[in-house]
């Protein structure tokens, strides 16, 4: 695959972690920050890439995957976290492992005011729902953070969200 020299390396690094962890179901509601990772997963025959209509579908789907003996990951942006809350009840009651990679909006240099509230409440909401949160704000730390989160999920059976800061992804500017 050709890659522009300016393209960040961390999406490929996340993909390598997911492959090494034998992740087979990749559920997502797209975010620009995840577009390269989604492309890589779609190009991998051993992985099912599942586009969702809402993020909460992914929580249920990955519970089903675990019941069936497969590992999965849920990709979303921070605005999707609110959509999952009721289903976190099942995750906690059944102690389902859950790996979420959340690209943050509403933070560093955000242009869209409608993103700011959910962006600033993402971590408190997740923590109130019993989800362990790992923040990462430097591109060179993304991969090791996802690796550590994956271990906590699949070896220690916990629900973990990696919050990939807007500073890592770059902010969107419609005014350009």
């Amino acid at each position: 695959m050709s890659q522009k020299s300016s393209a960040p390396a961390w999406p490929r690094g996340i993909y390598d972690v997911l492959s090494a962890q034998r992740v087979r179901q990749v559920a997502y509601v797209p975010d620009a920050g995840h577009s390269e990772l989604i492309r890589l997963c779609q190009a991998t025959p051993e992985m099912s890439s599942i586009s969702l209509t809402t993020e909460e579908e992914g929580i249920s789907m990955l519970a089903g995957a675990w019941l069936g003996g497969e590992r999965g990951v849920l990709l979303m942006q921070s605005s999707g976290v609110g959509n999952c809350i009721n289903l976190f009840g099942m995750v906690q009651e059944c102690r389902f492992p859950l790996l979420m990679l959340v690209t943050m909006r509403g933070q560093w240099g955000e242009f869209n005011p409608w993103q700011v509230w959910m962006g600033s409440e993402t971590r408190p909401v997740l923590e109130r729902c019993g989800v362990v949160c790992y923040d990462v704000d430097e591109p060179e730390r993304v991969v090791e953070t996802v690796a550590a989160a994956s271990s906590l999920v699949f070896n220690a059976y916990r629900a973990v969200a990696v919050l990939i800061g807007q500073r890592v992804i770059g902010s969107k500017n419609f005014m350009k």
Binding site: S48, T53, E57, L67, G68, M90, F96
Partner: protein, 199 residues
Amino acid sequence: MATRRKIVLERRDVVARILRDRGTALVVPGLGAPTWDCAAAGDHPLTFQMWGAMGGTAMIALGLALAQPERRVIALPGDGDMLMGIGSLATIGTQGPPNIVVAVIDNERYGETGMQETHTARGVDLEGIARASGFRKTATVYNAKELEAAMPLVYKTKGPVFVNIKVTTNPVPNILPPRDGAWLKHRFRQALLGDKAFE
């Protein structure tokens, strides 16, 4: 909007009939009455009884169907559960696993909360939505003859299969299955995966 006919099927008979032929199938009944219906038909380790997570039943079945392509996976949501997760029909239809069956036990009511009408009581056609979402085979069932005719769809036909089964609102005895979620999960995985469940 669907053509409406007289509803005569009893939910316990319907679920018992479906489960009679389950063989190696994996079954996911939705929150509320479908879970109690499965309990009444006989508790089973490969039935993942849902006591919550309304709207999530069909998607749990999708994750399971992708993980276990050699097994038939049958979701049994109620109509309220299916309506809450209506987008999941589009997700399942586009993903298209051949081994998934979504069979809605449709009494046109929110049964756990006072029997308020759902949208299916007002003509919303779940089968039509499933068909338009890419399900390969669909049916709506109103009587015992149609239920028998739908059995090959449930167990043999290449999916995704969607069957909407209209059932009465007649009261049934309360029969409750075990409800500890972590235990139900472990029991299911151990029955399905053996020792690999605890690796």
